[in-house]
């Protein structure tokens, strides 16, 4: 799990049975003490593998939306909740967004890419298990996994903060100027999962870099299935880079849907499955 704190923006991403939305009331309270007021909110997630294990308020998307509706200030009145489907029933993308101002725009114009990978290649997944009694702490073991798996090569200019859990699992945050990236891995066979998330600016002259980055991400984990959600504050074709990057490597786009949300802009949700390796 990860937390990123900017002067006027906060991103928190947690897995397992954490009660993420319960962070909203205390965050608003602490922010108010600093003279800050909430002006936009976006909540996203994929489809849980074990939905019945989730505690309140994450027992269903309906419950999550209800909780947010009850806990956000009334002036965040432009609100929308939607589930973006795919051809695979177990893979859909849940989005809730709210803002005080329908014309609220993120400046500079940025995109967020969230990749959720399942059924990881077993050889690759094994690299995220620690050796018993390795005598290392989580930071040291994490650093080794970062090197061994090639995660350090996804964005070579990022400063990486990584951690390996015992007996398995891995988390890392990458810091590159004002941009973050993050990787989380649950390698156990039967419910293996890895995520990658990054932000970028659409006016960057680095679209080749997006392609290279996407190729590296899928090659680190070699998932049988993955989804990519691209959120962009304006209509832009940044999402088209995903298929362009991964289809030559053997993954095929199975579905692609788009929807628009207040303060978030357009969200494009794509799913991919492996065709050949």
């Amino acid at each position: 799990s990860s937390l990123f704190v900017y002067p006027t923006k906060l991103i928190i991403k947690t897995c397992g049975t954490t009660q993420l939305l319960k962070s909203v009331p205390p965050l608003m309270s602490f922010a108010r003490d600093l003279g800050l007021s909430l002006c936009a909110c976006r909540y996203t997630r994929g489809s849980f593998i074990f939905p019945k294990a989730q505690p309140f308020p994450h027992t269903s998307f309906k419950e999550e939306v209800f909780y947010l509706e009850q806990n956000l200030p009334v002036n965040l009145c432009y609100r929308k909740a939607s589930v973006l489907p795919s051809k695979m029933a177990a893979h859909s993308w849940h989005v809730f967004a709210a803002t005080t101002d329908r014309t609220y725009e993120l400046v500079p114009v940025t995109f967020t890419m969230e990749i959720c990978m399942t059924e990881l290649d077993r050889v690759q997944a094994r690299k995220f298990f620690r050796r018993a009694n390795d005598g290392k702490n989580g930071d040291m073991a994490g650093g080794e996994m970062t090197q061994l798996t090639g995660i350090n090569d996804i964005n070579p200019s990022a400063i990486i903060c990584d951690f390996a859990f015992d007996p398995c699992g891995y988390s890392m945050n990458g810091v590159d100027g004002d941009r973050y990236s993050t990787v989380h891995v649950t390698p156990e066979d039967g419910y293996s999962y890895a995520s990658f998330e990054c932000v970028g600016a659409i006016y960057d002259d680095h679209h080749d870099n997006i392609d290279k980055m996407l190729k590296k991400v899928v090659q680190v984990f070699k998932p049988a299935t993955f989804s990519v959600s691209t959120t962009c504050s304006i209509d832009h074709d940044v999402w088209t880079h995903v298929a362009h990057a991964v289809e030559p490597l053997g993954w095929k786009c199975r579905s692609c849907v788009m929807d628009k949300f207040p303060a978030a802009g357009s969200v494009v949700f794509q799913t991919f499955t492996v065709g050949r390796r």
Binding site: S1, L3, F4, K13, T18, Q19, L27, C39
Partner: protein
Amino acid sequence: MAVSGFEGFEKRLELHFSGDDDPLVLHMGLRLLDFQSIQQVLDAVQCNVISAIGNQYFDAYVLSE
């Protein structure tokens, strides 16, 4: 019988705030939150900070779970 394992799929929340024209708020804003306040927020979520890094733009925390 349903077999349950660790849930990998994350929940993600992004919050944007606006402040007054106080240069300090504009410059640092939420980054002025002390560690105790951050931990109080994380207590509600049920996780902890296990590693941290930061630069002139933002702070990044790796969390348990």
